[in-house]
């Protein structure tokens, strides 16, 4: 094509590629540990956060102290213990403070509109009431379905009973601007009906599966 040798473009491309990949690789190596650490911390924060009110009202530890970034790892170790459950891909935890059982926490998964969601469900020691819910991973549309992560939606599940006539109860969606008048009603997220009902379905299916194992009663 021109008087320069044909190999020059290839050579040039190679150099540029190597330089940039090199820069990226170095940058990634330095951030990798931090990214993994972030994920771990986020998980611990979510899990302990579900029990933070409970722990504070019992006068064991203030919320801020419990969830302080530096203390997170230690607190997680001292309050949370993993249980062995024969459920693939789902973890279960027992949360104790000073040998008092505060409740259980299940790491569950279900299908959203776009992909797998993962959530932590906190259950009271008797296994009859949802204490708290946190959806920590989801692929839903930002600003729409992704709002299932927001407290306004997930806090609705706090205190709801799980059983109704010996069956796992089925929650019902109502429009976002209405007040829930019955114990089974959950205000949905406007514009994200499928995502909202996927959350309900996930809770129902997963709790059903877990309670077939009867761990709640073992205590």
């Amino acid at each position: 094509m021109n008087e320069k040798s044909n190999s020059y473009p290839v050579f040039f491309m190679l150099i540029v590629t190597l330089v940039f990949i090199g820069i990226l690789a170095v940058m990634y190596r330095f951030s990798e540990a931090k990214i993994i650490q972030n994920e771990r911390q986020e998980y611990q924060l979510q899990l302990l956060g579900l029990f933070a009110d409970e722990i504070e009202t019992r006068g064991i530890l203030k919320k801020d102290a419990l969830l302080a970034k530096e203390k997170l790892e230690d607190n997680f170790k001292s309050y949370v213990q993993e249980l062995e459950l024969p459920l693939a891909d789902r973890k279960a935890y027992e949360v104790r403070a000073d040998s008092i059982l505060l409740g259980y926490c299940f790491d569950v998964l279900g299908n959203g509109l776009w992909g797998t969601m993962r959530a932590l469900i906190a259950i009271d020691p008797s296994g009859t009431r949802i204490l708290n819910l946190s959806i920590y991973k989801q692929m839903e549309t930002p600003g729409l379905g992704a709002r299932i992560e927001e407290p306004a939606f997930r806090k609705q599940f706090s205190g709801r009973t799980i059983y109704e006539n010996d069956e796992i109860r089925e929650f019902v969606l109502i429009p976002e601007d209405q007040e829930a008048s019955r114990d089974v009603e959950i205000r949905q997220i406007t514009g994200a009906t499928i995502t909202s009902s996927s959350v309900l379905k996930m809770i129902r299916d997963e709790l059903g599966q877990i309670f077939e194992l009867n761990i709640g009663e073992e205590e």
Partner: protein, 195 residues
Amino acid sequence: MEISSFVLFWAAIFTSNILLTNFLGMCSYLSVSKEVESSFGLGMAVFFVLTATSALNWIVYHKILVPAGLVYLQFIVFIIVIAAFVQLLELIIERYAPALYYTLGIFLPLITVNCAIFGVSLFLVIRNYSFGQSVAFGAGSGIGWLLAILMLAGIRKRMKEKLVPLGLQGAGIALIITGIMALAFIGFSGIVNVQ
């Protein structure tokens, strides 16, 4: 218990059209939609490339990048795979199907920079789709994109003689039409149920 490919395919066309709800591929959508024929050509090219690159990028990601621990390079690798595939396709079509080349070929260079193609590749790794799901999602998104650009081109053809406020002519009115189309597509949201 994974979302079925069939559901994803339909969801990608109707309930969450890649263009009407994710806004991907807008640039060529707005500029090419002036004529129905070229819209169809571009739409077909997008559909074909999208389906193929979804499969390719899934393989590259799960069989090369993940085992090699190079996931952080995914953006560059995906765009190179797409560019290389488009180039290859252009060569093959030119060589073996000259007639097709005249209708489709001119659109191929436009495709590498079409965000829809790249976007779908990113969506499928972020959402951790299986191979089957990826191909279904890619094909559905392609058809959805084709559908959207064809509809806009059809409407714009009819709009030609109509009076449009000066400041809105061109892109402005095309955006408004697209908005109305997007509204109409919300009506489809009931047809897909995620199991």
